[in-house]
Amino acid sequence: MTHPAAQWTDIGALDDIPRQGARVVKTPLGCVAVFRTADDRVFAIDDRCPHKGGPLSEGIVHDNAVTCPLHAWVISLETGLAQGADEGRVATYAARVAEGRVLLDTARLAARKAA
């Protein structure tokens, strides 16, 4: 398995994402939810709950996890893993903040598309 070099794409200002909230980025591979935590960390994961495909970007964000709005599965923003008794995982993408802008690593999004 190869890891493509990071390809940082500026997707918007940090202030465009509410604290303890998320915004969606449309990609060729579907929607990615970009979260901002209470302490201003950002995380990007697929916007589809592994359970029934619920939009995770609309869930309540607490600490570094989100609760899916459809059936209350809790997904870790760091690992993409379902928490507690539920089993499942969503893809995660590297994201970071630089000078108030949110950068998303789109290398894997592009790579998966190429594959």
Binding site: I11, G12, V24, A38, P55, I60, H62, L70
Partner: protein, 812 residues
């Protein structure tokens, strides 16, 4: 005949003592109360908010003239006692001689003035009483230069208050770091940094040499040659017990007036309490031990057994928003070890001092949530060896030691209200328990606490547990969620009783075990806060469930449904056209008539919501809140206007009710029905609130259900006029909003509190009904607004679209 009791000094300690005395034996003494200040007892701890302008004097008065009159206290305020004649048992003052059978000295303490040149100049003040505070407020022009000498608690509060009033403030502190008696150097440093970031200049290791000035204070000169300009100099270097009267009377004196365990001085007829006494070699400055002394002295005066046993006290201070906690002994020493936790980015510092596997001291800055837990370990001398590795992370990390929900109850002040229905505060309950009421029923019988709606039962039990320790076996209660051990009811009580006005404040004060709560507690807390503090709290959108955040119902495929309000189920051709146009324009896959007499547009994409709302708004339609824990619909039949059986205008009443109640948030959804006659075509008798019109008026019934459970409503009352019906229904909704647990529908809540109690509040007691109605209207003044209009503004629309669209770039 009643004995003559003379009290010198009307401060917090003697005031509390008199309260105990009058409660236990209202007629045992004729009380004469002298006070050097020309006023009675006020809450001295609250002078800081008075200085900063956050509170007025009137708000901190503990005993007003009426209180003294009620208890027959002869008040001699503004009159100095100049001498105690023990031989003849009289005190001497400007007004002559006053005889006593028993005398209580409560002269408190006096500020310490450092003996430097210029200390007598006008413009040099101390910070001890209301007159000092007023002098400082009078001098506090914006831009005025203020030098505070002394970086202890009082000095820093004075500095913060003056800074808040726009003054340029410098604090001069003799020691190497601020508040050295409560804080270690690292915490002192963090505090200094925080105050400096607010614009206060801090000069540590500064010894004052002289106060310079001709007519009045102009500057402060330090030993190292530094000069600070000063329009006002506040001396706050410390206090000493005020013992002059006692010294002149040849009572036994140490640093303070020597008292025994019954607060008795060396003269058996004379007692003393408060900051002026010395007990067992110790002086007292914090309020908790003074209140203990007050209780002991009241009993001693009544000839009852009681002994003062000073307990260790912790200091939890709020200095201009800097969270500090210290307890025990934290000096370095042989055999002592430290555990230190630092998070510089968040400004958090915690230090635990351990000696022989026991915690002996704790200092915390920035995050003090676990303070009471650590304090408990210090007091109890708990062996901490088994939990040493995770000790500093607090109770949440101790596998077998659950967070102690009692800590928050223990920390509540005695005046915190526990039972809202009967106005019973914690202090009264503790008193009852100490007087022998050791069961819930006994407390209920004596104080009425938890005797009405019963929602504070859990809290009363916790007060029992705190007061009796292991002697009380508490039944287990269901906590709100995994983030806390408190029940919903307790959390609501705390929000009101401790005036908690934000989600972080609730989580901090009630020792939440998780960092940001969870999807279960956050919406509940957001509701409780906005319901209890409509004017102060601002709604936290990120703590809302998706439907309430986006003002539309999310469907299984991530699209939304849009339901405009149709008042009382009545619409017009123009509204129907606008709805049809919107359905066409946004390709709505399904248009459906709902059970609540309105129209649902299903399958709308999120990014289309604002534009669709704007179109519907243009036709005069507003959100139907079909997604909210709030007022949903008022279903009506056509009533007397068209129906040959109708007895009243049920449609009109339904519209009036919907226009009054719409927009209000509640613990769960609220649906109403109004039927024009007992045939009940609007199915009012299975709604949360139903009105059935009859010839003679309106039958209001409540607590119906037609969901997972089906239940007929119960009759609340019958009234003659529409106006009465409307006021009672609004008051009932407010009673529900203020008291129910989040997600409990009305029928579940009524089952818990009883319909009879509701009836007392909203039917039988007109004053209570009016107050509820008024509080409802206050809330409506904030929350009755159309969310569509708010979110459909052009500048807001970007928020509803994706942040970025990378599919476009990929296509290039």
């Amino acid at each position: 005949m009643a004995e003559k009791l003379v009290v010198i000094g009307a401060g917090m300690a003697s005031g509390r003592m008199l309260e105990h005395l009058f409660e236990a034996a209202p007629d045992a003494f004729d009380v004469t109360l002298f006070n050097a200040e020309p006023r009675g007892n006020y809450n001295r701890i609250m002078l800081s908010p008075v200085l900063s302008g956050d509170k007025s004097y009137a708000e901190i008065v503990t005993h007003d003239d009426a209180w003294y009159a009620t208890h027959g206290v002869q008040t001699r305020f503004g009159e100095h006692v100049t001498k105690i004649d023990r031989e003849r048992q009289v005190v001497v003052s400007a007004g002559g001689e006053t005889p006593y059978d028993r005398l209580v000295i409560a002269t408190g303490s006096a500020p310490f003035m450092i003996p430097v040149v210029g200390r007598d100049l006008p413009g040099v003040v101390t910070y001890r009483d209301l007159d000092d505070t007023n002098a400082m407020i009078a001098a506090a022009r914006p831009g005025a230069e203020v030098v505070v000498i002394g970086g202890g608690l009082l000095g820093l509060e004075a500095a913060a208050g003056m800074q808040q009033r726009g003054c340029k403030v410098t604090v001069i502190h003799l020691m190497g770091h601020l508040m050295e008696r409560q804080l270690d150097p690292a915490a002192g440093y963090l505090l200094q940094k925080a105050l400096e970031s607010r614009g206060i200049t801090i000069h540590c290791k500064g010894a004052t040499k002289a106060i310079l000035g001709h007519e009045r204070a102009e500057a402060v000169l330090l030993e190292d040659g530094t000069v600070y300009g000063a329009d006002i100099v506040c001396m706050a270097v410390g206090i000493r017990p005020e013992v002059r009267l006692a010294t002149d009377a040849h009572l036994q004196i140490g640093r303070g007036i020597t008292v025994n365990d019954q607060m008795q001085t060396s003269d058996p007829a004379i007692y003393a309490l408060g900051e002026c006494v010395e007990h067992d070699g110790q002086l007292f400055g914090l309020v908790a031990p003074l209140y203990d002394q007050a209780r002991v002295l009241a009993k001693a005066l009544l000839g009852q057994d009681s002994a003062f046993r000073p307990v260790q006290t912790a200091t939890k201070l709020k200095v201009t928003g800097c969270d500090l906690f210290s307890a025990g002994d934290f000096a370095d020493g042989p055999g002592r070890e430290d555990i230190v936790f630092r998070d510089p980015a968040r400004g958090i510092y915690k230090r635990l001092v351990i000696e022989a596997d026991r915690l002996v001291g704790a200092v915390m800055y920035g995050d003090t949530a676990d303070g009471n837990w650590f304090f408990g370990l210090i007091k109890d001398g708990t062996d901490i060896a088994p939990m040493r590795e995770t000790l500093i992370f607090g109770p949440a990390y101790q596998g077998d030691t659950r967070t102690d929900p009692l800590a928050a109850v223990a920390a509540l002040p005695p005046e915190a209200e526990i039972c809202g229905c009967n106005g019973v505060c914690k202090g009264r309950i503790v008193q009852a328990i100490e007087g022998g009421a050791v069961t819930l029923d006994a407390v209920r019988a004596q104080t009425k606490a938890s005797g009405s709606c019963g929602t504070c039962t859990g809290l009363v039990e916790q007060v029992l547990a705190v007061t009796l320790g292991d002697g009380y076996a508490r039944p287990a209660a269901q906590p709100m969620c995994k983030c806390t051990d408190h029940t919903h009811e307790d959390v609501r009580r705390f929000i009101k009783g401790a005036a908690l006005k934000s989600i972080p404040a609730v989580m901090q004060e009630l020792a939440w075990k998780t960092a940001g709560g969870c999807a279960s507690c956050r919406p509940a807390l957001n509701y409780y806060l906005l319901a209890d503090w409509p004017l102060e709290y601002s709604d936290d959108r990120q703590s809302r469930f998706v439907n309430e955040r986006n003002h539309a119902n999310i469907q299984k495929d991530g699209t939304y449904s849009v339901v405009p309000r149709m008042w009382g189920g009545v619409t017009t051709p123009a509204e129907l056209r606008a709805i049809a146009d919107a359905a066409d324009k946004f390709n709505v896959p399904m248009v459906k008539v709902t059970g609540g007499q309105r129209i649902d547009l299903l399958g709308v994409r999120k990014e289309d919501l604002p534009a669709m709302w704007a179109d519907l708004n243009d036709a005069g339609l507003v959100s139907g809140h079909a997604y909210s824990k709030g007022l949903r619909t008022v279903k009506t039949c056509v009533g007397s206007e068209f129906c040959r059986f109708g007895t009243q205008d049920s449609t009109g009443l339904g519209i009036k009710l919907e226009k009054l109640l719409w927009g209000s948030w509640s613990p769960a959804k609220v649906k109403l029905g109004v039927s024009g006659c007992p045939r009940n075509c609007a199915e009012a008798t299975c709604k949360d609130i139903g009105v059935v019109c009859v010839d003679s008026g309106y039958e209001i019934s409540v607590a119906g259900a037609a969901g997972m459970e089906v239940k007929e409503t119960e009759l609340l009352c019958k009234v003659a006029s529409e106006a009465e019906a409307i006021e009672i229904i609004a008051a009932f909704v407010q009673l529900y909003r203020e008291n129910a647990r989040y997600l409990h529908r009305i029928y579940k809540w009524v089952a818990l509190v009883g319909l009879e109690w509701c009836r007392q509040q909203v039917v039988e007691d007109p004053a209570s009904r009016r107050a509820l109605y008024d509080r409802f209207m206050v809330s409506q003044s904030v929350y009755q607004k159309d969310p569509w209009t708010e979110h459909a503004r052009p500048e807001q629309r970007a928020e509803w679209r994706p942040l970025a669209d990378l599919t476009l770039e990929a296509a290039e």
